[in-house]
Amino acid sequence: MNALLANPAYAILAIPAGTAVLLALLPGYRLTARLNVAASFATLLAALALFFVPRAAPGPYLLVDDLNIVFVVLNTFVGFTAAYFSASYIGHEMETGKLTAASLRFYHAMYQLMMFGMNLALLSNNIGLMWVAIEIATLTTVLMVGIYRTHAALEAAWKYFILGSVGIALALFGTILVYLAAQPVLGEGAASMIWTNLLSRAAEFDPAILNLAFVFLLLGYGTKVGLAPLHAWLPDAHAEGPTPISAVLSGLLLNVALYAVLRFKMLIATHPDAIAPGPLMVGMGLLSLIFAAFMLYRRRDIKRLFAYSSIEHMGIIVFAFGMGGPLANFAGLLHMVMHSLTKSAIFYSVGHVAQIKGTQQIDGIRGLTQSHPALGWGLALGVLAIAGMPPFGVFMSEFLIVTSTFAREPLLALLLVFGLLVAFGALILRLAGFIFGEPTGKVGPAEASLAPLYAHLALVLAAGIFLPGPVVAWFRAVAALLG
C-alpha cells in the first residue's frame, strides 16, 4: 500500500488490473458500468498525481519521464470520459437487446484490461515489456470490436486480428534486433532491454543492425498507428465495434503505438551513423494523409468516415515528428492531444446519433441540428474542429506544423497543405447535409450524456484560444527531448 502511494505509476497499473478482475466477477450492468467509471476516474487521479509526487528513479521495468506523463494523462483522461459515455451508451444497447448481460460483463472487464495494457505500455522502461503490453491492449480491443457477433463485426475483428498480429510480430522482430545491437555493449541479460540504458549507450551500437531494427519497428508499430499502406484494419475495426471502443481506439490506442515508434526514433536519432528516421516517417505520414484525405470522399458510413479521418490525422502527426526540431515536435505533440480529444468527442456524439437513428449510414440521417440541437451542434463543432477551422486547437497545431515545414521544406509543405485541403473539403461536403437541413429518419428522444462531448470540445477550444504557460513550457521540454 505504501508503495502504491509513494509511486503513482504503481497505482495507474494496479487500479485497472484489479478492477478488471472485479468486473469479471460482479453481475449487473448498472453496477459494473458505475464501477468502470469510478475506476477510470481513480486512474486519472493517480495519473495527475504524477505531476506532484517526486519521480522515482527509472527502474528495470517502469519509467516516468516528461514524455510519457503527457501520454499517460491524456490516456487516463480520455479513458475516463469514454467510460462515462460508455455507461449511457451501453445502457441503450442493453435495452435494444444488442448486448446481453454476459457480454457486458466481459466488455467491462476487457475495458479495464485494455486500460491496463495501454498504461503499462506507456510506463514501461523495458522494450520487451512494452511489446507485451501493446499486445495485451491489441487483444482486448480485438475482442471488444467483435462483441456484437454480427457478420460485419466478426469480419472486422478478424481482419484487425490478423493485421494487428502481423504488425506485432514484426515489432517483436525489431525488438529482438535492438537487443542484439545492444548486447555487445551492455552485456547479456535484462540490462540490454532497459530503455534508459539503451538510450545512454545507443551511440556505441552497431548502426546496421539498428537501421534494420528501426525499419521493422516502424512497419510493426506503424501498422498499429494505422499508417498507410498498413491501415486496412482500422476503418473496419472503428465502424463495427461499440462506439466507446471506436473513441478509445482512435483517441488512445493509436497514440500508444505512436509512442512506441517515438521511443525507438529517439534511440536511432542518437546514433550518428544510423539512418535518419525522419524521412521514413515523413514519407509514411504524407502518404497516409493524402491517401486518407481522398478516401474520405466516398464514405457512406459515418464511423468509417471518421476512421479515415483518424488515419489522416495520424499521418499529420507522424509527419510532424518525422520533420523533428523543437517547433515541429511541439506541434506534433499538440496535434496528437487535440486529435485525441476532438476525435473521441466526435465519436461520443456519433454514437448517440447512430443509436437514435438506428443507422450509421450518412444518407439516412439529415438535419441533426434541428431534431437534436445539443447533439447536432456538438457534432457540428467537433467536425469544424477536426477539419482544422479556427479557433479550435487543431487549427493551431496544424498551422504550426505547416509554417514550420514551410520554413524548412517548402515542397513538402505544399503536399501537406494539399492533403489538408482535400480532407477539409471532404468533411464539409459529406457532413453539411448530415448536420443541417430538414431532419429525416427517426426523431426519437435523445438520452445522451453530453458532458464528455462538451468537456472535450471546451478543452479543444480553450487550447486554440489560449495555451497556459506551464503547458507550453512542458510541451517545449518534451519537444526538446524528442530531438
Binding site: 520487451g128 478478424w158 522482430f173 542484439l180 548486447q183 532491454m193 552497431d206 546496421a208
Partner: protein, 220 residues
C-alpha cells in the same frame, strides 16, 4: 561454441525453414496441421538445444510450451474444429504452388543476404540464426497472404511466430523469452477460440474468407 554444437543448432534452424516450405504446398487442411505440428516439434528441439548450449534453463520452458501447446494441443483443437465444420476432407486450391515456392525461395535468399550483410557486428551464430528466423517469418507471412482459408491463415501466423521464437532464443541471453512465448501462446489460443467460439462457419456459412470480402460496410 564448439563446432559440433554450432552445426546441430544450424541443422535444427535450417530444418525449421525446410518445414516452412513443406507447409506452403500442403493442399489438405489435415495434412497442413500435421506438418505444422512437425514445425513445432523442430522448434522445440531447436530451442532446447539452445537451452543446452547457452546453459539457459529457462529456455526449456519455452521448448516445453512449443512442444505441448503448439505441437499437440493447438493442432488437436484445430483438427477437431475442422472435423466439426466438416471441412477436414476439403482440398484447398492453393494458387500457383510453383509460383509461391519460387517467391518463398526469393524471400529466403533475400533474408539471408540482408541479415548476413547487415549484422556483421553480431556473433556468428546469432546472425545466421536470425537469417533463418527471418526466412521462417517471411514464409509464414507469404502463407497468410496466399491462403484464403481462416484455419490456414492461423497456421501461417503460428509458423511466423515460431520464427520469432527462434530469433529470440538465438539472441544470446535475451530476457523475457519465456514471457513472450507465453504471450504468443495466449494470442494463438485466442485466435483458435475466435475461430471456434465465434463459429465463423455458422456466421458466414463458409470459412472461406474470399466470401467475406464482399462486405465493406458501405452497402447496407
Amino acid at each position: 561454441m564448439d563446432r559440433i554444437a554450432f552445426d546441430i543448432a544450424h541443422l535444427l534452424a535450417g530444418g525449421l525453414v525446410l518445414v516452412s516450405f513443406m507447409m506452403i504446398y500442403q493442399e489438405r487442411l489435415t495434412a497442413l496441421l500435421n506438418v505444422f505440428a512437425m514445425h513445432a516439434v523442430v522448434l522445440a528441439l531447436s530451442v532446447s538445444w539452445q537451452a543446452h548450449i547457452q546453459h539457459a534453463p529457462h529456455l526449456y520452458v519455452t521448448a516445453a510450451i512449443a512442444l505441448v501447446f503448439k505441437a499437440m494441443i493447438i493442432p488437436g483443437a484445430l483438427h477437431r474444429i475442422i472435423r466439426r465444420m466438416g471441412i477436414h476432407r476439403e482440398v484447398e486450391t492453393v494458387v500457383g504452388v510453383g509460383l509461391t515456392m519460387l517467391a518463398g525461395m526469393g524471400l529466403v535468399a533475400m533474408s539471408i543476404v540482408l541479415m548476413l550483410r547487415l549484422t556483421e557486428a553480431a556473433d556468428t551464430f546469432a546472425r545466421e540464426d536470425l537469417a533463418f528466423a527471418l526466412s521462417v517469418v517471411l514464409l509464414g507471412l507469404l502463407m497468410m497472404v496466399t491462403r484464403r482459408n481462416a484455419v490456414s491463415q492461423v497456421v501461417g501466423f503460428m509458423s511466423l511466430e515460431n520464427g520469432l521464437i527462434l530469433a529470440a532464443t538465438g539472441a544470446k541471453g535475451m530476457p523475457l523469452v519465456v514471457e513472450i512465448s507465453v504471450a504468443f501462446s495466449v494470442l494463438i489460443a485466442f485466435i483458435v477460440i475466435g475461430v471456434f467460439l465465434f463459429r465463423i462457419r455458422e456466421r458466414f456459412d463458409t470459412i472461406d474468407l474470399g466470401a467475406l470480402e464482399e462486405y465493406r460496410g458501405e452497402n447496407q
